[in-house]
């Protein structure tokens, strides 16, 4: 049966199980929007394409499915770019579908023509320019397969307007033929045996748990391996939630704002087991002195991540869950009692400096507020963040026991990610409680999506940590630029009025005694709410490994007198 290219697109999206798309119509994708009316897919009209990209990203992270965002050509597509790069850096499966001018106009600088496949080449896992209707079915099939398989990532499909309106016979391709794309599952047996030998010799092993654990759904396998070998588990920012924070083997977050005992454990270890992580500079500090005595085993799906930043002794290239499942029966049981004791010694020292052990002084500290929200929600909410101080405090104090509830822009560090990703997550988990922790700076970047939340009835709770500063930049200026504050004092709008103008009930909290009641109020309202917390202006995130320093050179929170 003959169909238009636009109809074929929707036929394919429905077959991929797409239930919701986030997008914005315009000249070059109008045939797609016209055909959409005949298909059972919910469309969320966003206020800015960047918001749409982050919503699709948040949906994908919370659901484990492929997210879909749409935009028109030219500025519509270029507005997606930040969201595409965010998904790329964090390996999130999102398919972006953009309209393009008619094929015969390409190269002629037509109205709203932009070389979108050229622009997005380095920030997509793969991309396509479609000029004919009969290419659409195959391309969409491939796009979803590439986005979700192997190391997941964003795929962009740019569809010329003529391809949307022309008709052709619709044949759904039974299989994907990609000769150069064959992700591997099992690691070679010889490599597994080499890994086992290193594990046998280790006295001070540490597991580094990355985003790959979640992507590969290897949480169970990780738990089995860790418990069987009694190996402590440190987590990257994006790996949080993959291993329960309350487990006795959990070391919490590593890296620049990781815990002291965690970073010391890594620096003193004799074996690093890196699971689905990529030795980002924010987790290693300077590479010259990184884990100097440790042998390294790296389980990783992407061969280009092996030896990229840190040369490893045994690379196990394959799907993490498959490789771990193969490895577990080959390893013996260990107890590593002395090593765990040594780590616990460092831990108690750090506790003395923890802000959580401070006595109340009437001021609002973000760390305390995160702990309050954690308590009120039983630690079970989906939490999204923007980027900066509040993000690190949330990573430190919203202690996650369950996976896929922690949505944050790690690799790209994209401000404005929090609110839209929460709206996207709501479509994946409407029965779950969803909180966005934002700073006053990042929130203003995508605040327009509040209306989207209202229009869709998205039940997301926004907590703005307003310190009237771009807090993390201010902290760096305090530590590394002799407190010469440059362009960090930020005048914010009246967030309560702003929220109310969007139709969102809102409150402002300035005193400690108002906190619990405000959180309870937000939880009792059905639909979006905003709470603005006026927090301590010049608090800093501790501990901190200055960029380029060794991982055990940490600036710690000063011990409080009295």
């Amino acid at each position: 049966m003959k169909k238009t290219g636009a109809e074929i697109l929707w036929e394919c999206l429905v077959r991929e199980g797409v239930e919701v798309v986030f997008g914005y119509p315009g000249g070059a994708n109008m045939p797609i929007y016209d055909a959409m009316l005949s298909y059972p897919v919910h469309h969320v009209l966003v206020r800015h394409e960047q918001g749409g990209a982050h919503m699709a990203d948040g949906y994908a992270r919370a659901s484990g499915k492929v997210g879909v965002a749409m935009a028109t050509s030219g500025p519509g597509a270029t507005n997606l770019v930040t969201g595409i790069a965010t998904a790329m850096m964090d390996s999130v499966p999102v398919v972006f579908i953009t309209g393009q001018v008619a094929a015969h106009l390409i190269g002629g600088d037509a109205f709203q023509e932009t070389d979108v496949t050229g622009i997005t080449l380095p920030i997509t896992k793969h991309n396509y320019l479609v000029t004919r209707a009969d290419e659409i079915a195959e391309v969409i099939r491939e796009a979803f397969y590439i986005a979700r398989s192997g190391r997941p990532g964003p795929v962009l499909v740019d569809i010329c307007k003529n391809a949307q309106v022309e008709t052709c016979e619709f044949v759904y391709p039974e299989e994907v033929k990609l000769p150069g794309y064959q992700p591997v599952d099992h690691a070679p047996k010889a490599s597994l045996e080499e890994a086992v030998k290193l594990i046998e010799k280790a006295q001070k092993p540490v597991i580094l748990c990355g985003h790959g654990v979640l992507m590969s759904k290897a949480e169970e396998a990780l738990m089995q391996f860790a418990v069987k070998t009694q190996t402590p588990v440190a987590s990257t920012l994006l790996g949080l939630g993959a291993f329960p924070a309350s487990h006795e083997l959990s070391l919490g977050m590593m890296g620049m704002h990781g815990e002291v005992h965690t970073n010391l454990a890594i620096q003193n270890s004799d074996l690093i087991l890196a699971f689905g992580m990529r030795f980002d500079d924010r987790v290693t500090g300077t590479l010259k002195t990184y884990a100097p005595r440790a042998k390294k085993i790296h389980i990783e799906i992407d061969p280009s991540e092996v030896h990229k930043n840190v040369a490893v002794d045994v690379p196990l290239v394959g799907d993490l869950k498959t490789v771990l499942t193969d490895l577990i029966p080959l390893v013996d049981e260990y107890d590593h009692e002395e090593w765990k004791k040594e780590i616990n010694g460092w831990k108690s020292e750090a506790d003395a400096r923890s802000i959580m052990n401070w006595e109340e002084d009437g001021k609002l500290y973000v760390a305390h507020l995160i702990a309050d929200i954690w308590k009120a929600t039983g630690g079970g909410a989906i939490v999204t963040t923007d980027v900066g101080q509040h993000q690190m405090w949330t990573a430190q104090y919203y202690q996650l026991d369950k996976p896929n509830r922690w949505l944050t822009s790690g690799g790209a560090g994209t401000m404005g990610f929090g609110l839209p990703s929460a709206i996207g997550a709501w479509f994946a988990a409407k029965d779950q409680e969803i909180w966005t922790i934002a700073g006053d700076g990042g929130f203003q970047m995508t605040a327009a999506e509040l209306t989207t939340a209202v229009q869709e009835g998205a039940n997301v709770k926004v907590a703005i940590m307003n310190n009237s500063f771009l807090g993390m930049v201010r902290q760096w200026q305090e530590f590394f630029f002799e407190k010469r504050y440059s362009a960090v004092n930020m005048l914010a709008p009246d967030f309560v009025k702003l929220a109310e103008a969007h139709g969102v009930p809102a409150r402002r909290v300035t005193k400690r005694e108002e906190v619990d009641e405000a959180i309870a109020w937000a939880r009792s309202v059905k639909g979006p709410t905003v709470i603005e917390f006026r927090v301590e202006m010049e608090d800093a995130v501790y501990p901190m490994v200055p960029a380029g320093s060794a991982l055990d050179q940490m600036i710690q929170r000063p011990v409080r007198a009295g």
């Binding site: 496949t117 280009s304 092996v306 040369a311």
Partner: protein, 184 residues
């Protein structure tokens, strides 16, 4: 040190751009890049010579990132493999009739050929390894080179390969991944 990679890629628009973009994105300088058809109309073949300041670590990065491109069917680092390597140059030398014999003599020694003769110039065609061509250029230079073009290096390993697609950075073999099955 220069490393040589052979990549089999899908013969379709934009693939060369993806490969070239990768080198820019990962901050490597291409010394030479030669692309052409193969015995299979759906497959093109690239020989890429790249300067790798950090030696094998850089070479691994390049190989693994090429491997990752969806349109790249296979990639091999052949730097240390026994292989035949050739480059072709056309060199136009400004010589009149009185010195043609001199050029001809040099060409014979290098097993090059004179492929065009004009009143005041000749074109020499030479095929060989980079060293051989450089040697010839040095000797022709005093006579007055006015124009030169080179194809860039092409390489082919000796013998028949085992048809196994290797995963970069891994010494062990993935028995289930066969190159033969992957070429369309």
């Amino acid at each position: 040190m220069n490393y040589t990679f052979i990549a089999l890629v899908e013969n379709r628009p934009g693939v060369l751009n993806r490969v070239a973009s990768l080198f820019r994105r990962r901050n490597f300088n291409i010394e030479s890049l030669a692309v052409g058809r193969t015995e299979n109309p759906e497959v093109s073949r690239m020989t890429v010579v790249v300067d790798c300041p950090n030696g094998d670590m850089d070479a691994h990065k390049i190989e693994a990132n090429l491997y990752k491109l969806v349109n790249v069917i296979d990639v091999q680092d052949v730097t240390r493999q026994p292989s035949v390597t050739r480059d072709l140059a056309l060199i136009k030398v400004k010589v009149g009739p009185e010195r043609r014999a001199e050029v001809n003599g040099l060409a014979e020694i290098f097993r090059a050929r004179i492929v065009d003769v004009a009143v005041d110039s000749v074109i020499v065609e030479i095929t060989g390894t980079e060293d051989k061509i450089e040697g010839m250029i040095e000797l022709l230079r005093p006579l007055g080179i006015v124009e030169m073009v080179r194809t860039g290096q092409v390489s082919m390993t000796r013998g028949v390969t085992d048809g196994v697609r290797r995963v970069p950075g891994v010494t062990g073999r993935y028995d289930d991944v066969s190159l033969a099955a992957m070429v369309p």
